[in-house]
Symmetry: D2
């Protein structure tokens, strides 16, 4: 089958032929990919940012945002059958450790992360597990929903964690209205009555943000911290959701956060550098976020099916994977790029 | 009356005569001080760390950890009478803003902070307000409990916030077993069944920690991060309470925090410097902490009265305030130094 | 001044002349009433249901849902001035007890409840306190918002408590789309993405419910429990908000609640009668609800100002108070009846 | 093998020979029973209380509180091996439904309940599943810990849910210091600093309660509600944990609960009968409780291993099962009766 493979860090991946995966264990599932999202994390993987954390041997297949149809199942699989349409939680988990037993899928002590730590889904077939499969209406086209599998779940999870902080009268700043952020805006609008302020460098992204529910937009042209302070009578936001967290956004994000508020780090690539006096004197929190739970993904699919979250995507054939990656890097993608094998 | 006054940053305060405070508004309370704690924050005030945040005009009286007897009250005060023994919440609050109405005393939008932003309690008398007074059994000696007014409430509040994270089977690391930390250990033991690991440079402080409920102690001699990793099978702690947060403790504290865990910044003076990738890939949180609520102080007094929290203090006459400050700076105080006018 | 006074239980109140209230204490506020809501609780007061709980001496003035303009203030009042437009939290609270310090206004240990335990607001003037006043935009007409002061806050508080249970994919049943319920529907729609099912005897009330955000409506004609079970694949609702809780609704409400779900009692007049086996075997909860907090009312005013909650009201002159009470009892009021002095 | 089988409701079960269970599915586990607890629920099963809810076909083997050694495993089992010492969560769950994915084991939509809905553990062998097994230190004797599998987890779960309500200064009443209650007292003492008041008819049970951490004990001789009111200055308890909930305890329990407080129903057999006015006017909650989660059981094993929870048990040979049941019914068992095959 064809797959998008990374051979060396700091070099673009290539589309090439590899062997199809096969069932190894009783709870394995093979999925025929119908849509595979292209994520800023793929750029960061190429840059080598994840090399140490994941320790994967090169070459390997990238792609951690996948939907498709069940192609084969292990002997103990009961929740899906061959032919089912599915969207995949990014991490096949053990189901038995403390974290899994508490619903914290991302902290499973025995999970893999296809596309980061093992072969991913920018390919014709993907090996995953029964526990990663969310069954969908058979009418659903995988390419239409794939972006929910990682961009969506990550944005949804961050918003869901912030709900108790976002009662009427509060302000939530969202930095970065791209692949994740444009979903985050819609989740905020669907799940809270907070005032939504969106910050982005790109005026087109801000136009989209307004259509999706932003109450205010701010161009990140250097005056964004002052603009947020102005909108909040100088107090700062109750919550800042930072989908960028690099190139200065990470300092802006903390600076925009008001006393007693919380700054959610969702994007990455930069470094927070903050005197502990500033953390304690105003009692601000910095909250880490990585993907979300299986139930988050299932809940997000409910919002999507109800039309409360809609995706802005641009499809590419699998063979054009490198074009999609280059377009993303050049800021040419509104919403999310999706590869269709 | 005598008061301990700071005339210039980077110079020690002096004990001198000033006018006694008087009732200005209907909810004011004047307290005759019976005990005023000396805190590392007083050292940081002298160093000028709070100059910008508080903007107080010099000279002024320091001291933000106070207990005593009610000396005079305003016309609308109903909760205390002249002669009552009281311990004081550090911040007189308005009682009317959103934060006060939610019980978040430290985020009152109209509060003062005597000892930081106005004249404090290292003096014979202090001007505070009805809402700051916690009435005590008349038998209580103010000098015996004063350390609970700031060191105690701050440690208690951080522990209370962490309770939901500290179920049986978890590990909590506490960095710094001094004035605040030695209370924090006892709060952890009283309110949770977590495993308590205490890290400090000083072997005497660690001996005290063991007596107060630490399950393990670790000398901070350079190998403290490795030691905590060893005690947790390489996973790190669920919660780290950092009562130091300067001189490298702030990097250690985050490094000792496990995936999905939370690092509580309580001390200050240093700078956290962390790649956003490290925050998101392990989904760790950094939690700010400043003092605590009025109800926290009332709850802590219950623990103290039940003998579940006991204080280690060393008293000095008010005239010897500078000696107390010097002793604290030199690491010669086990527990807390208390000035008695 | 004129006031609506109850002289005997089981007899309708009368409109008569009484002395105007005057400032007694430094934190008192006198409000000139602009709108006073008529509530099912007023019917229950007349029926004597509250006689034992409140122990008020007859005759007294009823009316616990009030808005108007500040007419006079005590010497220590700082948050409002004469002439300010205000909506009133139902209970003037002490601000000093444990409950007040935690934001639980309804559990203040020193509060009054004008209209239930002391003279209320169906009159030209009302004596309340500084802490009960929520300041409004001077353009606001009190009669337009008065219904938020009790019907609104009560519905909002119940919905707010239920938010964590009402993630996407859940079902919330709301019983009774009247004065409180028609606000509850809008709060659910503004603050959650749950599926909203509204049950009422009255087809007109259900029509209104649909306009306000109900996803499904069910006529309470005897088949309402089966209808809810049918809508939920036999599992029952995650949350039931019962704004009736008498005449059988209280048994229906618990029966409609699914395993692990919560039944919120908001109305009253009936009796729950449930085997403890039924409570434990399915682990269902019964949640009491009484009015809400000051901050709830402030938050609700934000929703109202943003147009996310709109009121359906019918105004009557103060002299026609008995007509309004009779109309409510006869089921002739859609939304809320408001007296205008 | 021998098993304790119920042939008809309202008749005692009999010990008789039945076929051993065998592995049916890839995730099945057969456990050789080392200890099987006798529970008041077994009496209630015999009385037919569970007949309708469970719909099990008679005859069947009772016993839902089990520990032992792994005897055989299905092909896909990875978390235990033959010979492992295990304690069993009462319900083998699917691991795939919404509830399982959120850690709510008791609300699994595809679980069995051996001893209630299928053959249980008062036998030499029990069929359960991989997900029900908590692996123990091989030195542990199953008969020493079996009582934690149901009595323990149920008491622990109720206490754990109540922790946020039980800050210092609160009062928790525990009704019934028997098999579950004597563990509940210890969990309260280990996890909170609340004041513990224990109510029981039996003076011996109250003596044990004092040894285990009760601050006050009250004989249930008719004056128990007044006694609790007296101990709480007339306000009632913040939390009542009712391990009896029959024969009047269920009315006492609610009556002892203070305004804003919560009454936890854990035992069963009676009927709550409460005017909705009483629920709303004081805003009290009634909380259902059924067993607990897998993680609860794992956490409780940590407390037990640390010596913070110790069991009071009396062992009987499996052949004497009927004696054990009769002793329990006659109030002759302090703590828990355990059958040892």
């Amino acid at each position: 089958m064809k797959a998008v493979r990374l051979h060396e860090y700091h070099q673009l991946p290539v589309v090439e032929e590899v062997a199809e995966p096969s069932i190894q264990g009783p709870l394995d599932v093979i999925v025929k990919i119908g849509g595979a999202g292209v994520c800023r994390t793929d750029l960061h993987i190429v840059e080598g940012q994840w090399a140490e954390a994941m320790g994967v041997a090169l070459p390997y297949t990238i792609g951690h945002e996948n939907a498709g149809w069940v192609h084969d199942i292990g002997a103990a699989v009961t929740n899906v059958e061959v032919g089912d349409t599915v969207i995949l939680h990014p991490t096949p988990t053990c189901g038995l450790c403390r974290a899994c037993r508490a619903g914290n899928d991302m902290h499973c002590s025995n999970s893999a992360f296809p596309g980061l730590s093992t072969d991913g889904g920018m390919a014709e077939y993907l090996l995953t597990s029964a526990r990663a499969c969310v069954k969908l209406d058979p009418q659903t086209k995988p390419e239409d929903v794939a972006a929910l599998a990682d961009a969506g779940i990550t944005a949804y999870n961050a918003v869901r964690k912030a709900i108790p902080l976002l009662y009427p009268g509060t302000t939530c700043v969202l930095i970065g209205a791209g692949g994740l952020g444009h979903i985050g805006i819609q989740c905020l609008a669907a799940l809270t009555a907070t005032r939504i302020v969106v910050v982005d460098r790109n005026p087109d992204a801000l136009k989209l943000a307004e259509q999706l529910g932003a109450d205010h937009t701010v161009v990140a042209d250097g005056g964004q911290v002052d603009a947020v302070m102005g909108l909040t009578d100088g107090t700062g936001a109750n919550v800042v959701l930072d989908f960028v967290a690099e190139q200065g956004a990470e300092q802006d994000g903390f600076a925009m956060t008001g006393g007693g508020g919380s700054y959610y780090v969702i994007g990455y690539g930069g470094t927070v550098n903050i005197p502990t006096l500033d953390i304690i004197s105003t009692e601000r929190n910095i909250v880490g976020n990585i993907v979300g739970t299986y139930n988050d993904l299932a809940e997000l699919m409910v919002l999507a099916q109800a039309g409360k979250v809609t995706l802005h995507t641009k499809t590419y054939p699998l063979d054009a994977a490198v074009d999609a990656i280059n377009d993303l890097d050049a800021g040419k993608v509104r919403g999310r790029a999706i590869l269709v094998p």
